[in-house]
C-alpha cells in the first residue's frame, strides 16, 4: 500500500511540473514513473543497513544521478541480483 500511495504522490508531482525520483523496494507499483531506483534492500531500509555509510552514499549518488537522465529510466537492483 505504501508504494501505491507514493505512486499517487509521484504522479501528481510530475503533473504539477515537479520532476521526481523514487527510491523504492518494489518495482510493480512504480512502473511507468520516469525515474525509479529499486533498492536491493527490504522495505524499511531502502538505503541499506543501519550505519552502512558507504552503501547509503552509493545509493544516494545513484538516486541523484537519475535527475540527470534524459529519458525514463529504471534501475532495479533486485532484478540485477536475481539475474543468472
Amino acid at each position: 500500500m505504501c508504494h501505491q500511495t507514493v505512486r499517487l504522490v509521484a504522479d501528481a508531482f510530475e503533473q504539477a511540473n515537479i520532476p521526481t525520483v523514487v527510491v523504492g523496494t518494489m518495482h510493480a507499483p512504480l512502473k511507468g514513473l520516469p525515474r525509479v531506483l529499486i533498492s536491493r534492500y527490504d522495505r524499511g531500509r531502502n538505503f541499506g543497513m543501519p550505519n552502512d555509510t558507504s552503501e547509503h552514499h552509493a545509493l544516494v549518488r545513484e538516486a541523484l544521478s537519475l535527475f540527470d537522465v534524459t529519458e525514463p529510466t529504471l534501475i532495479d537492483h533486485k532484478e540485477r541480483a536475481a539475474a543468472p
Binding site: 523496494t25 524499511g44 531500509r45
Partner: protein
C-alpha cells in the same frame, strides 16, 4: 453547493463495508480484493533542473514526525491515516519518530539515514528544501488522499521552493 461526482469515491465507498472486517483483522490480501485503484496518467517526461539549480523536496512515507511538536500518525487505524507532517530538514535525529506499523522500524530507529537520508544527501551535494514532507504510506482512503492530502503536499513543496522531489516509499 454541490459536491462534484467522484467515481473513485463511489467505488471506494461501495468496496469499504465489505473489506472493513478484514482490514481490522489485518487480512490485507483478502481485504484488498476489488480495491478500487485510480488510473495512472501518462506522464510526459520532464527534464529535471541542472544540478546547481536543483532544490529537492524530500518526501517520506515512513510515518516520520517530530516527537516534540507533532502528534504521531494513527498507525492502528484499519484504514490508515491520510494526514501529513512537515518538519525541518535540520530536525535532530533524536526528535525524529516513526508511527506507521506495517514495516519493521528497527532499522530506521537505529539509523534514520536508511529511510530519511538527510545528511547523506547533503554530503553528496544535494540542496534540500528546508522541510521534509512526511506521510504514512498506509492510507486506504485513496479518494481523500488524492483530493485533500496530495494538493497540500504539492503546495508545501512549492512554498519551500522545490523544483524537484525525491520520494522514498516504505
Amino acid at each position: 453547493m454541490s459536491l462534484e461526482h467522484n467515481p473513485l469515491r463511489t467505488a471506494w465507498a461501495a468496496w469499504l463495508p465489505g473489506a472493513l472486517t478484514q482490514l481490522e483483522a489485518e487480512s490485507y490480501k483478502e481485504a484488498l480484493v476489488g480495491f478500487p485503484r485510480p488510473d495512472h496518467p501518462p506522464l510526459p517526461f520532464l527534464q529535471a533542473p541542472s544540478p546547481g539549480e536543483r532544490r529537492i523536496a524530500l518526501i517520506t512515507s515512513s510515518g516520520a514526525y517530530d516527537t516534540q511538536t507533532q502528534a504521531p500518525f494513527v498507525a492502528r487505524s484499519a484504514v490508515g491515516d491520510i494526514s501529513h507532517r512537515v518538519f525541518p530538514t535540520s530536525l535532530p535525529d533524536e526528535r525524529l519518530g516513526f508511527a506507521h506499523g506495517h514495516y519493521d522500524d528497527e532499522h530506521v530507529l537505529a539509523d534514520r539515514e536508511v529511510l530519511v537520508p538527510r545528511r547523506t544527501l547533503a554530503a553528496e551535494g544535494a540542496i534540500l528544501t528546508e522541510n521534509v514532507i512526511s506521510t504514512m504510506g498506509y492510507a486506504i482512503d485513496f479518494p481523500s488522499f488524492l483530493e485533500a492530502t496530495i494538493p497540500q503536499l504539492i503546495l508545501q513543496a512549492k512554498n519551500d521552493g522545490a523544483n524537484c522531489a525525491l520520494l522514498v516509499p516504505v
